[in-house]
Each structure stands twice: as structure tokens, then as C-alpha cells.
Symmetry: D2
Subunit: 286 residues, 4 copies
């Protein structure tokens, strides 16, 4: 983690000779000081990925001009790219239900500035965590979800997200399945933590499924939400060892520790523009 | 984790033929239903360790009478033993400084009843976390520690602990070294989380020491506090992978995730009477 | 691991009051010295599991008489049980194909007596590893398997196993699917190492499946073979971290390290009678 | 792992603006196709590290000319650098004592071409593993080491290494301490596997030290050998969980699994020029 202000370029393009030279040549030409850089060639698909951090005060322009000047380079390489500024805090809207472990974990990281973000609001289908959220000075919106009002509820979630100028939405053990529409509106911007080591145990009660199958490790998966349940691009995963003496309830308890850690790691990668989506997979430049 | 009320016998004694038979024979005689049982023979030292959970309503007596009736068995085996009741919540006093990650983690577990304890108070040498603690309805005591008032400060900590009828004291990243006297007064009752994989990097700034040595994994250690700094019996440890790109600040950040998990696991083992101290080591019946 | 000779009792029975007392009472009555003991109550199914090691020279009888005398206790508790003698080496027949990593690993452990077993023979559908096996003084049988001779081939495998008085069969990356008949003949006696973290990626080319799905960890599973492919009771599993830069070939390479370790651990648990099958799950007393 | 022939540039130099641009500009100028590239800036020491793989048939020259042409670029950047050819197999001399687990592991990887190296000879202070080594067609040299002949023995080891045109020497559980002279002659070319998680438990019998201290994880460390015992730059480490029931002998057994895996990983990083030594630390581009 760098304390100095920096710009982050994240990009992918068809692979060819000279990509790094072109991009870093442009940066060097403007005396840009590279703090960190990562490159990856996917030889199966012939696609090239990169992430470069440039010290902000080493270049003689601000973000908008950087973007303008870099555009011709990017176009000549047929790039998908984005450029961000570490001084502009990302705005993250958190969705929760009743379980508090991920929320406590995220707010602790936010309090200590480990997660240097804005949290414009927390949205929940229950009212249980209002006090805790509001004590932190963060607005809390209770949006109940029932069988008969789903469309309306998700429309309200979307309205609140838009109104908050949210960059990303984090489902921190939000126990409702977002509508396919909502998912489709924000590709690569909604993160979920699923309480199993996907692709094992898709859907409901994964710890009970794990107990039935008698596995010796359980896990959690942070992934981008797509309209297909638990099928989106995986960002981060981890596991923990269990044994025959663990009941489904024990697994739930162990699982929480993995869930919050995996979600926090995945979210950090996402916020630092370390994650590039590639089809249904991700490149993660840790 | 059992929902039903149960009694837990934790004991050690010199090894000999027939120990399990004697103890479980006594329990069976009173129709005691054993929920969980663990045994360990230390063949080097010839000492025997055990932990047995008995369903409370399966035996025809309460804790006090259980204790009375079991005493002759224990004496004939020269046991060190204790018997506890799952219905009596342990009282845990938490000590913190300014870093909040372990405190948030412990209070989240307490809120969700994963840690089913009483927290009579939190004590800190800073006032920073007062609001957060008090929001949870837990009394907060600010006991500043300065070079010139150490004896007085630790006397106050001890007074507050006694007044709270505390069973255990948890140093949740409390950045002061308790006086040897205070440590000696509560053997096996004060838990600390040290931010290194002991015995590596004893003392101050372990992550900086780890950075200097160029290790590829960093860790954390939950141990009982004794009067010798960072030398007490180890309860639980874990590590996380790092690499050359991680600065000491990155290690501090990664380390926090390990610290809070290891402390929570160690504390749970302790509270469930799963830890038996044996010289400067522990038997942990997970 | 104990150097002294010992008898191992592995058993399960319906749960009730007094099981441990009955069993350990019997042992104590004969002055049996218990080296290690483990117990587990499955509260969902109401079944009780145990494993007890008794020092051989502490009891005044040999295995056969021990068995005779224990029978009434076992019957009164409706036990499934077995009693084994650490001085009688288990006979393990190994099946391999062309990949050598698991075979090298097992033979290294056998050479160093870490695996204190007899290997009466190695069977392979290829002739490639003959020299290596025979150099170790172990007979090698080449039993080709083709579409048209499968029944005959598996009959030959079974004949060789019987002729060898094999106790267990280990599929050490044997790339053929045994016939359902053969599997059914030896329940709980054939171990396989599957190169994925089951239940993910059942069947062929699991690393390629893992690559396609973009998972961040890959694993291996040691399980008992049943007539349903990759569905048998799981004994042991582990995983290793990968990332976007790893090709399927890299995963195959990483996977080998997990495969051989997981197989060796699972096999050791099996050989030391630490594994009790319970429906399609296992109790493993490590 | 790439199957095609490639050249690997590994280099470090003082950090400044434009390093990547200069180096990759040179490569692009010659139409060099970059397969893999990694960069690291050590901001504390102001030093820059890189590793670049270039497809051999994409550039219009062979290794010697590549080296000649790149020299001016390297000199202008004050680089320490080396350039290697994936078609030239590294020559690795293995030193062992009596324990066979690392040797079996390395030879299995060599047999399967996972380790695509030449092993010109194995040197041992015992004769025990001669047959196994020679069966593989590898010369075996027995060089006994006794208190009175140490200087002579290490001179013989050095003579054999030189005669073999060895690139690297691997101490695969070689239980002798090489002379400081021998270590100093081959900086960054001798790899050792130490059976503890350094810096814990330096020196003899680390598992017994670990048992005494009561740690809950044990580990292994692959490091470059320097004249200071167990103090050289660390390449790779890993750990495994143990508990109170594990004797020192159990730890030795568990430890072997970690030792061979950590040694194999460290050796592969070294052979693929992924390790750059930086003072007493390493940059490892995995």
C-alpha cells in the first residue's frame, strides 16, 4: 500500500509484440514514476492484461488529461481500460440481512482506514442492524423483501444505489437473490460472498450440503454477481479444515471466519483495481 | 457446540491403568450421558489429560453435588481437576489500546452469541474506543499507563478485574506489558495475542523484524501471559503467506486478520475448558 | 506413533449411557494400559464411535483370546468392531498407470519404514514402471485394460489381490475405472486419490474443469472406492492456491504435490484403523 | 510453464524513471514476444527488480548475440543481470545423507521431466542410497565426512562439483555443515532445506526444540547457504499444523512432507531464474 497519491491503469487488449513498451514508453515520456506494475498474457485466448500504478506528482498532468493523452495509445492497442486516482475514494454500498459478522468486519476496516472508502449507506431487508450502522454515522435503509414486492424492493435498492452515487455494491451475507435485471445493470460492480467453496454446494444451506457429503474442508467464495446464481467470476476463495466432530452449526461458525476474510480480501482487490474480468474468470493482480 | 446444558470435567493426573474406566464408570453409575470426551497420555512425562462433557439433565444432581461426589474419585487418582456448568456464563474482561480490529471481532462474536459470555467491562490505556464499547452497553474504563504510574495503573486494572468478578482477562492488542505481579496472580487466566509466530520475533515491532529477515510467512500466537514476556504456554497459532512485495505496513494489515482469528479461536478453547496447561505447554482438546 | 506393540480396537454402536465405561472397564479389569483413545458421538444419527490402543504386553492374552473375551461386551452393545495387532503388517496392493509421483512417494515412505506395511505386488495397466518397482524387490504385474477385455482384466486384478492376501488396494493414480463388481467386493478396502476437491469436478480432467471455472484453489481427495464414480466416503482432502497465471499444465504439476500428500495421509489413517465408515461419510480419529 | 524455447532476463538496478520502457523497448525493437514479465520496486532501498521471458524464435538472434546487444542497455541502467536459455538444462548436484525422502521426491520430479535438469551426480557422506541413485543411471560418490578429514572432504565435494560443471548444489537433507569457504565460493548457488520455520529453531534437532516450546505449527525453510549457519536468504517456507498429541517423532514424520515440498518449490524458483538475491533477502517472482 502506497501512501502517496497515484493513478492506476488497468487494461486488457489483444496480445501482440510491444504492448508493454508502448504503454510504459508513454509513461516514461512524461517522466511517470511507476510504483507497481503487473502483466499477464493469457496464451490460450491471446489476450493481454496489465495494471500499472504511476505516482501522481511525477506526471505533469491530472487524471483527466492523463486519460486524454493516453487514449490514442489505448485505441491503437484496442484496449479495454480504466484509469483511477487513489485520492478519489470509492463509494461502496453495503447490503446485509441479519448476520452481523461481515458488517462488523467491514466497518472495523473502514474505521481504521484500512478500507479507505466512502460508505454512503447500508441497505438491509431487516431492521436489526440499524443502530450499529447509524452509530458509525452511516445512513441505514430498511428495504423489506417479500414474495409479493420483489420487483419494487429491488427497484428501491437500485434507486438508493444510484442516489448514493455508488461505485460498487457489496452483498455482505445479504440473504436475498437480486433480480437478474439488477445484476445485469452493474456487471463487475456487485460483489457477493458465498458460503461455500464454489462450484461445490451452489444455492441454499451449503454447510448442510457439506455436512451431508462429509467433506474435510469447507470454504467461502467472493465473486461478482451475475444473473446466474453463484455462477459469476470468482475473485477470491479460501477454506478451513473441519472433521467428523463438527456439526452443521459448527461449520456455520467456522465458515463465518472464512467468509469475512475472503470478502475483505476480494473487496480490497476490487477497490484497488486489481481485478480484471475475462469472460467468466478473473485476473487478480495481488 | 451443544445447545443443551452440560457439565464439563477437565482434569489431569499421573498416568496409570484404569483411569478412563474409573472416571467414566463413576459417570455411568449415575446414568450420565457423555456428549463429548477426549483423552491424552503424555508418554514422556507420564501424565494423563482428559475433558468430558456430561449432559446436565442426565445426572440426578446439580454441579455442587457432582463436585462433592466426584471428589473421592479425583483424590484417589491425584487429579488436578475442575468442573464447570455451561449455563454459567464466563466473565471476560477485555483490555485494549487504540487498535480496534480484535475488539470489533470479539464484540461481533459476543453480539451474535457465538461467544456466549459476559463482558463486565473493557479497560483501555486510551480513551479512543469508549464510544464503541459503550454503544454495546458495556462499561468502559480508561486507565492511562505512563512510566511514572505503572504500579498504580496495574493495581487499578486488578481492582477493576476483581470488582467485575472476572474469570479471564483478554489482552486484545493491549500495547502495554503487564507487571510480573499481575501476571503471577492469574496463572492460566490472562490471554494475549502476540503479533508473530512465536518463538520468532519476540518483543516489539515483530512485523518489522519479519520484514528484515525476509520470511515468506507471518503469523500470530495466542498464549497465556506469564511474567516472562512472550514466553507463556501457547494455545493457538496461525500464519499467512507474504512475499517480497509486501512492506512492513502490508504485513501489519495482513497480520490483523490472523491476530483476530487466532485470538478468537484461542479464547473459545479457553472458555470451553479445552485448554489444560502442562508446564509451559498446553493440551488443547479441540 | 508408538514403537511398542499394541492392539487397536475400532468400533461403532448405537449410542447409550455407559459405553466408554463398559469398554474401558473391560480393559482395566485385565490391567490393559491404554496408549491412545478417541470417542465420537454422532448426535444426529445416535451412533457412537471409538478407537482404543492397548499396549500388547499389558494384557495377559494374545489377540485371538482378546477377541474371544471381548465378544460378549461387543455383543451386548450391538457393536460393529475390529481388533488388530500392530505387529501384523498390513498387506497393501498398489495399482498404478504411467504417472509415477504417488508411487515414488509411497515407496519412499515404505523404504524408510514410515509406512510399515507389506507390498506383495504392484499392478499396472502399463509396463512403464516395472523396473522401478522390481528394483525395490516388489513383484510387478502388467494387466493391460482395453475396451474389449475389461471384465477379464478386472478378474485378473482381483485374482492377484486374492493371491497376495491383500488387505487393502490403493489406486495411486490408476487411470482406469474399476468395475462395480470389484468395488462392491471390497467395501472400505480400496482407496483412490482423485485429483480434485470433491464434490467439485467429478470425472475426467478435473484440472481442466478447474481452469475453465476459474477457481482460486485446487485440491485432491482420498476416498474409498464404491461402485459410484468419485462418490465414495471421503477420508482426506487438501487444497493449494493457484492464480490466473497458472495454465492447466501448471495445475497438473501443483496438483501432484497435493495428491501424493493427501493419499499418504489417507492411507496412513486407514492402515492405523483410524477410519470408521459411517454411511457415505467417515469418522477419522487422527 | 512454457513448452516453447525462451530466453529469461533476470536483473536488478537502481530505481529511476523509465526502466521498464528502456528494457521492453529494446525487446520490442527486435520484435521480441514477451511470454511472462514481473517487476518489483523496493521503495525502501530504491532498487528495481525484473524478470522477463522472451520467446526464442521471436528474436532474430541467439543467446550470445542477445547478450551482446543488451549489454549497453544494462550498463546504462547499472544493472546486475543474467540471461538464460530454456533449452540449456541446468546442472544440479545433489548432496544427501541417509534420509531418502527429499531424494526420492527430486528424482521422481526429474524422471517425469517436471524438473527438466541434468543431475551429473549425487554426493553423500554415507553409502546407503548408492543403489537407488545408480538405478536411475546417475553417478554416486561416497565422500565420508569425519571430524579429522573435513577440509579434505569438502575439497573433494568441490572438486566433484567443478568436474561435473555443476550450476547449483542442493543439500537434500545433507546432515553436515559445509565449510565457510565452500559456501563463500558459490553464493546464491547452494540451496539447503532446513527442517524448521526459520528464524525459529536454528541448528540441530529443530523438531525437538519445537516440541519443547509447544508450538502449534511446524515448518521448513529452503534458503541459500551462506557461511553463517541457517542465516542465508530465505527462498520458500511452509508450515503444517500439529497438536499436543504429536511426539517429536510424529513431527519428524510430518516435517518430511513439508521439507520435500518446500525444497522442490524453492529449487524450481531458483532454476527458472525466479529468485533474485537482495542483501540477505530474496525477490521471488512466482
Amino acid at each position: 500500500m502506497h501512501r502517496e497519491r497515484f493513478y492506476t491503469l488497468s487494461a486488457s487488449c489483444p496480445d501482440q509484440v510491444g504492448i508493454i513498451a508502448r504503454v510504459t514508453g508513454f509513461i516514461a515520456e512524461h517522466k511517470g514514476w511507476i510504483l507497481e506494475s503487473s502483466f499477464h498474457a493469457d496464451s490460450v485466448d491471446g489476450r493481454y492484461f496489465m495494471r500499472i500504478e504511476v505516482k501522481a506528482d511525477s506526471v505533469p498532468f491530472m487524471l483527466a488529461e492523463f486519460r486524454e493523452r493516453f487514449r490514442p495509445v489505448a485505441e491503437s492497442l484496442q484496449m479495454n481500460w480504466r484509469l483511477s486516482d487513489s485520492a478519489v475514494k470509492k463509494r461502496v454500498v453495503i447490503l446485509v440481512s441479519k448476520q452481523e459478522h461481515c458488517l462488523y468486519d467491514l466497518l472495523a476496516r473502514w474505521q481504521s482506514k484500512e478500507l479507505d472508502i466512502e460508505i454512503p449507506c447500508v441497505i438491509s431487508n431487516h431492521d436489526a442492524l440499524r443502530g450499529f450502522v447509524e452509530w458509525h454515522g452511516i445512513p441505514f435503509h430498511h428495504v423489506p423483501v417479500a414474495v409479493e414486492n420483489k420487483a419494487q424492493a429491488y427497484a428501491e435498492v437500485q434507486r438508493l444505489f444510484e442516489e448514493s452515487h455508488g461505485d460498487s455494491m457489496v452483498l455482505a451475507r445479504y440473504m436475498q437473490i437480486l433480480s437478474p435485471d439488477l445484476c445485469a445493470n452493474y456487471p463487475g460492480r456487485i460483489l457477493n460472498i458465498h458460503h461455500s467453496f464454489l462450484p461445490s454446494f451452489v444455492g441454499a444451506k451449503p454447510y448442510h450440503q457439506a455436512y451431508q457429503r462429509g467433506v474435510k474442508l469447507i470454504g467461502a467464495t467472493c465473486h461478482y454477481v451475475t444473473s446466474e446464481l453463484d455462477q459469476g467470476p470468482i475473485i477470491e476463495q479460501d477454506v478451513i479444515r473441519i472433521d467428523h466432530s463438527d456439526s452443521p452449526e459448527d461449520m456455520v461458525r467456522y465458515g463465518k471466519d472464512i467468509e469475512k476474510t475472503v470478502l475483505a480480501r476480494g473487496l480490497r482487490y476490487h477497490l484497488e483495481d486489481r481485478v480484471l474480468v475475462h469472460g467468466n474468470k478473473t485476473v487478480v493482480f495481488r
